[in-house]
């Protein structure tokens, strides 16, 4: 029981994010109102440093540190990198919106950074305790961020729903964890997996705990039937918060699922496959169908998220290295797409106006053809149109599902994807074939946002045409 400073090396990215948050906290106290934007710069610098550190300490063999509570392996490295890059985009997009509404305050950045810290902890966790604490850190920051606009009653309502259902989800997860702990006698994944290997699946307590854990994961992902909070939260929360909440946390949730189900309970795969199957089919079906009926674009994107979660589950339930890699590819690219979609909504908003109806996108092509093109790329990608990355992701996942013999499942997924394509294409129609509303002003854009959005949109195209690099990375993580 001696502490070794070398333990700190693999968590340098986390330390960087925490330090940034601490610096922002202190600087924010003393800084003048006029120089508030310094904290924005500090945050970006901190994230870039964290990305660099992820690269520096990453790679190489799997390391267990902090007495097995934390792991640094290729999975953690890749997910951390993805989370940090997506979060960097989020903060760049969010700045104009916050500035216009007088909300460019330290708390947004601090809570945002803490939520990122939570995600980093989750994806690098190697014990139930660590994974749960990371999850709570993420969730608590997000609850507060959803209610961030204190004068918005919708925001408060959304935060309340999110909080209550999120707490319920955490409770389920914790209950499941307690059962598994009771049955295996350890909270560390390695020891749990070992105990499972010896006990086999005879122990009903284990399966019972697994059910609750899957429900908890379902809650955190927002999979049907645990999706009730998602549309309300997306609709009620301030757009930059939806941006933060709808992008990187999906990657973290994927990390959570892999850590719990594969690292911890891998030998129960036969049991959780069926559960995930139900969640996946329901999510893909309900998400795509209900999204068609939405007039509010944030709600529409919420249901679209639900359907994408279904696809991620499809990859997971395959239970093969190929399936995990496909799900990972899908998750990361989905986060990039979601960032782009909500980023465009922020660009369309201005002081006193939030782009929320689908009609607000009318004639975007005439107002700014470059942004229109980017949004079209995002929408086509989400719909799964080749050669964009969304198509690649769906293809990989379906391939993995077919490989394990679930052809009918792939067919169902494809059918619902085609149904879902309708509402994505409707958005594209509004952008290109409708006149803008008369009072719509030209889109103001500061340089950073335009560059970021261009990178974001073109990345979808580039990854779709040349998916090999990212895919190879994802596959190397799972040794496929």
């Amino acid at each position: 029981m001696h502490f070794d400073a070398a333990n700190l090396l693999p968590i340098l990215p986390e330390i960087a994010v925490l330090l940034t948050a601490a610096i922002v906290l202190v600087v924010d106290l003393y800084i003048d109102e006029r120089h508030r934007e310094v904290i924005h710069g500090l945050t970006l610098i901190g994230l870039v440093v964290a990305i660099a550190l992820t690269g520096v300490v990453g790679g190489g063999a799997t390391e267990l540190v902090f007495a097995g509570n934390v792991v640094r392996d290729p999975l953690a490295d890749l997910l951390k990198g993805a989370i940090l890059v997506v979060s960097l985009l989020v903060f760049i997009y969010a700045r104009p919106w916050l500035r216009d509404r007088g909300m460019l305050v330290g708390e947004f950045y601090m809570l945002g950074l803490f939520s990122i810290l939570g995600m980093l902890v989750m994806v690098a966790a190697n014990s139930f305790v660590t994974v749960y604490l990371g999850l709570e850190l993420l969730a608590l920051s997000l609850y507060a961020l959803v209610a961030f606009d204190r004068d918005s009653s919708r925001g408060a309502e959304a935060a309340m729903k999110y909080f209550v259902l999120g707490a319920l989800g955490s409770g389920m997860l914790l209950y499941g964890i307690s059962m598994v702990y009771g049955a295996t006698g350890s909270v560390e994944f390695g020891a749990v997996a070992e105990a499972l290997a010896t006990q086999g699946m005879e122990n009903k307590v284990l399966v019972f705990g697994l059910v609750f854990m899957v429900i908890g994961i379902g809650f955190k992902f927002g999979a049907v039937p645990f999706h009730m909070w998602l549309p309300d939260v997306y609709e009620g929360a301030p757009t930059p918060v939806v941006l933060l909440l709808g992008s990187a946390p999906k990657i973290a949730a994927f990390g959570l699922a892999i850590r719990l189900l594969v690292d911890g309970l891998g030998s129960l795969q036969a049991d959780w496959q069926g559960m995930l199957l139900i969640l996946a089919v329901l999510s893909i079906g309900l998400g795509n169908v209900v999204a068609i009926a939405q007039r509010n674009i944030k709600r529409m994107l919420a249901y679209s998220t639900i359907s994408h979660v279904g696809f991620i589950f499809l990859g997971l339930l395959a239970g093969t290295e190929q399936g995990y890699a496909a799900a990972m590819f899908y998750t990361i690219t989905y986060a990039v797409m979601a960032t782009g979609a909500f980023g465009i909504l922020i660009i369309l908003s201005r002081k006193g106006f939030d782009a929320e109806r689908i009609e607000d996108l009318k004639g975007l092509n005439e107002r700014d053809s470059w942004y229109a093109a980017m949004m079209a790329l995002v929408m086509f990608s989400m719909a799964g149109v080749p050669p964009l990355v969304g198509f690649m992701g769906k293809l990989l996942v379906l391939e993995a599902v077919v490989r394990i013999g679930f052809v009918w499942l792939a067919v169902v997924a494809v059918i619902f994807s085609i149904i879902g394509a309708f509402y994505y294409l409707r958005v594209v129609r509004y952008i290109y074939f409708d006149k803008p509303e008369e009072d719509a002003p030209a889109l103001a854009s500061s340089g950073g946002v335009r560059v970021a959005m261009s990178l974001n949109g073109l990345a979808l195209l580039a990854l779709g045409v040349f998916p090999a690099t990212l895919l190879a990375l994802c596959q190397s993580v799972f040794g496929a």
Binding site: L117, G182, K204
Partner: protein, 220 residues
């Protein structure tokens, strides 16, 4: 052993009963007080498990601080009990049905047989001089230092979130800053001695002296 078992059943019964009261009492203050009782008897259960540190900390933190603040807020709120109860009664039958079905299902899947003493070997009792504070402390600051620090960060998030969501600086409130008040020094701040030269008084005095002078002159 017999006496310990008896104590366990007494405290366990109190805990369950109090927990039931928490959700069924109409008066929220009573509900919180039952919650206090539930915490207290759970602390006693922990003491029976020889986890005296956890038991006492439960009393100290939850009973002594958290619940006091809970009560503090509840007593200041004017909660409309009628509307709260209306919703409760309306959903009660449905809730009871679901709860019963779930409980039966859970019992069918994992019956008590899965949790019996034969499933889990009884851990050896620690020696009387083992201080579990020391044990907990050693573990927390070595093996579990990472989760421990994370818990600290979560608390920090709680503070930041609470301040962001509730602290509003209202303009125009009359507020005395005690730090400034107690910095008042005896000399220059409380009493200011002004050396005022009263010109009007001087003239009168001058006049009176002149009169006296002339009288003296006259008498001389």
């Amino acid at each position: 052993m017999g006496f310990e078992k008896f104590l366990f059943y007494v405290f366990a019964a109190i805990t369950v009963l109090a927990a039931g009261m928490v959700v069924t009492r109409r008066n929220p203050v009573h509900a919180v007080l039952y919650l206090v009782l539930a915490f207290f008897s759970s602390a006693a259960l922990w003491l029976l498990l020889e986890a005296e540190f956890l038991g006492l900390v439960l009393v100290l933190v939850y009973v002594g601080a958290v619940m006091v603040l809970f009560l503090f807020v509840l007593m200041m709120l004017d909660i409309d009990l009628a509307t709260l109860r209306a919703g409760f009664i309306r959903y009660l039958p449905l809730g009871v049905v679901i709860a019963v079905v779930m409980a039966v299902q859970i019992l069918l899947v994992v019956g008590p047989g899965n949790f019996g003493a034969e499933q889990f070997p009884t851990p050896a009792a620690a020696a009387a001089d083992v201080s579990n504070i020391e044990e907990v402390g050693l573990l927390l600051y070595t093996d579990y230092v990472y989760p421990f620090e994370l818990a600290a960060v979560i608390l920090l998030v709680g503070i930041i979130a609470a301040i962001r969501l509730t602290l509003r600086r209202r303009p125009g409130t009359k507020y005395l800053d005690p730090t400034q008040q107690i910095q008042v020094r005896k000399g220059p701040d409380r009493v200011r001695l002004v050396s005022q030269v009263s010109t009007a008084g001087l003239r009168e005095e001058q006049g009176a002296r002149d009169v006296a002078q002339s009288q003296e002159d006259g008498s001389a």
